[in-house]
């Protein structure tokens, strides 16, 4: 028999306030996972294999970091922006957005130094410029490369197999465990109908359950590997 209170409708007025940590985490994780899952329509950078692109990116990042000659930095800028100007508008914005935000943040951080010590201002502006360049290049790389291509590229760079294997697993599990966290937080959100007094218990619960699940997953992965003939030889991976 169901209890009497279940037969009637509660007169319930929810409180106004409440935390938004669950929603915010869902949103930030959602963004990350959509980037990691099959990146549709991102194969534009077909001109260059991922291996060479990764090398080029590293060389360019080092170059931007080392260069103090403004003319050389201008040349890099011309190269980067020149390439970008051939990109479609929508991808352009995705690429530039975070680079602009990071450059803006850098500008803000360095502003006090520039005001206090105007003589050094041009050097600080170069940093802002370099931050923008580095992040734009990184984003260009990411927007044209799928992560499985990145791990293949790392293999060709003779990065140890166990490392690449672990990286692959990590990416897979980020999506898997991230989905679990999002689901747990959605379920929490649906039942969080009032004032959440025990927020930290819930945080511990969500991440704790996720850890337990991840321990289970790693055991299952190993067992599945053994079932498919894996013999503890991580060098052969």
């Amino acid at each position: 028999m169901i209890p009497n209170w279940m037969r009637s409708t509660d007169r319930y007025v929810p409180p106004r306030d409440g935390g938004t940590f669950a929603i915010r985490t869902i949103q930030s994780l959602g963004g990350v996972m959509s980037r990691l899952q099959v990146q549709r329509g991102q194969q534009q950078g077909r001109a260059l294999p991922a291996f060479w692109k990764l090398l080029l990116l590293l060389v360019m990042l080092v170059a931007v970091s080392v260069l103090q000659n403004r003319l050389a930095l201008m040349a890099v800028t011309a190269l980067v922006l020149g390439t970008l100007s051939f990109w479609p508008a929508k991808r352009l914005w995705q690429t530039l957005k975070s680079a602009l935000a990071a450059a803006g943040l850098t500008l803000l951080l360095l502003l006090p130094a520039m005001l206090l010590h105007p003589a050094g201002a041009s050097n600080q502006l170069v940093i802002v410029w370099k931050v923008f360049l580095s992040l734009t290049m990184l984003n260009m790389f990411n927007r044209t490369t799928q992560w499985n291509e990145i791990t293949t590229a790392l293999r060709r760079l003779h990065v140890p197999g166990i490392f690449v294997f672990t990286l692959d697993l990590t990416l897979k599990y980020i999506v898997l465990l991230g989905t679990l966290i999002c689901d747990l937080l959605s379920a929490l959100q649906l039942r969080a109908v009032g004032r959440h007094e025990r927020k930290y218990q819930s945080v511990g619960g969500v991440m704790g359950v996720t850890f337990l699940r991840s321990a289970e997953l790693s055991r299952e992965t190993y067992e599945a590997m053994v079932c498919r003939g894996f013999t503890d030889d991580y060098k052969g991976l």
Partner: protein, 343 residues
């Protein structure tokens, strides 16, 4: 706490990266020894867990949220050695895929968050557990250990980052004595980094660590690192001493290496200075002009260049200008095309 690209000099980045190599080798070796074979996929899972933990919005007062690094937590769950690898991988992904923390600053970020944080946090935790009665201590002792360990770990990691920032203006200056990278010296960088970490981020870290650790302790204590290796007697922090010594030596050697190359600050010979000033002019960098106040054209001051450089500069300016215009027009066109679908 992620150090972005270009705040640290390339030399600092290289040194920090070099310092991490023995740490990583040690961590991989120890992980192989300590953890049963089937736990190897645990590194991948642990890295994923670490990555996601850093993305988790931890509730703070009044509806605001903050992020934890979770280094100590990962060490408590997976062991400090596995944590070092797991956090490193998480940081690598953040840097390469999401631009969170510099790719070149990866070594420095790993040093702070994948080395100092988990090892120190775990060591403090062990100390407190030992003081509180060893393996049979009360659960509360463990939670206090986790809280203090993660708080101390994070704050020392932040201090390390602050020092890395703070030594930049001391070591790397241009001919005019102006900082080339992070312009804030130790007297600014240390309070700017440590105060927010002491007051807010450290608390977030401790709360997050204890909350998750408590649930795992209650639900499945046998899955935590301590239980996995209780059969082995505690060898303690001694094993880490060689590594700490090596890294200290590396860091100490950095300025020496710089002095040796003759580019470090304060070691200019008379003719060297003349040469650099000349170079400075060749770069169009004239401190006298800047002393009058700076304008936007300091970023493209190369019009005074002679001969070939002038031509190159003009061509480059033209390319940048045209590219900027094209990009700008494309971006302006977005709202007109895109808004309808998103509305």
């Amino acid at each position: 706490m992620h150090i972005p690209e270009n705040y640290l000099s390339p030399v600092s980045c290289a040194v920090m990266g070099a310092a991490m190599i023995p740490v990583w080798i040690h961590a991989v070796k120890k992980t192989n020894e300590e953890l049963p074979k089937e736990k190897i996929p645990l590194l991948g899972v642990g890295a994923a867990f670490s990555f996601l933990g850093m993305m988790f919005n931890v509730p703070l007062v009044g509806g605001t949220t903050g992020h934890a690094v979770g280094g100590t937590l990962i060490a408590l769950l997976f062991g400090p050695n596995a944590a070092c690898i797991a956090v490193s991988i998480a940081l690598l992904l953040q840097a390469v895929i999401f631009g969170d923390g510099g790719v070149l600053a990866f070594g420095a970020n790993c040093f702070n968050m994948a080395f100092v944080l988990p090892y120190l946090g775990y060591a403090v935790y062990r100390l407190i557990v030992k003081a509180g009665g060893g393996e049979n201590c009360k659960p509360l002792t463990r939670y206090i250990g986790a809280a203090v360990g993660s708080y101390v770990g994070l704050n020392v990691a932040a201090l390390c980052a602050a020092v890395e920032f703070g030594i930049q203006p001391m070591l790397f200056r241009d001919a005019a004595g102006n900082a080339l990278y992070c312009p804030y010296d130790l007297s600014v960088a240390i309070p700017a980094m440590t105060i927010p970490h002491l007051l807010v981020a450290g608390v977030v870290e401790a709360v997050f660590t204890v909350a998750v650790f408590a649930l795992v302790q209650k639900t499945a204590p046998d899955l935590t690192y301590e239980r996995l290796r209780t059969e082995r007697p505690e060898a303690g922090g001694k094993r880490y001493v060689p590594i700490f010594a090596l890294i200290a030596a590396l860091i100490a050697a950095t300025p020496l290496g710089l002095l040796a190359t003759g580019t470090a600050w304060g070691e200019w010979g008379a003719d060297e200075i003349a040469e650099v000033v000349q170079n400075g002019k060749a770069l169009g960098y004239t401190p006298q002009g800047l002393a009058n106040g700076w304008e936007m054209n300091v970023l493209m001051p190369d019009y005074s260049l002679e001969g070939m450089n002038e031509v190159v500069a003009y061509i480059l300016s033209a390319i940048i200008g045209v590219a900027l215009l094209v990009i700008l027009f494309k971006l302006i066109s977005i709202p007109m095309k895109g808004r309808k679908q998103s509305a």
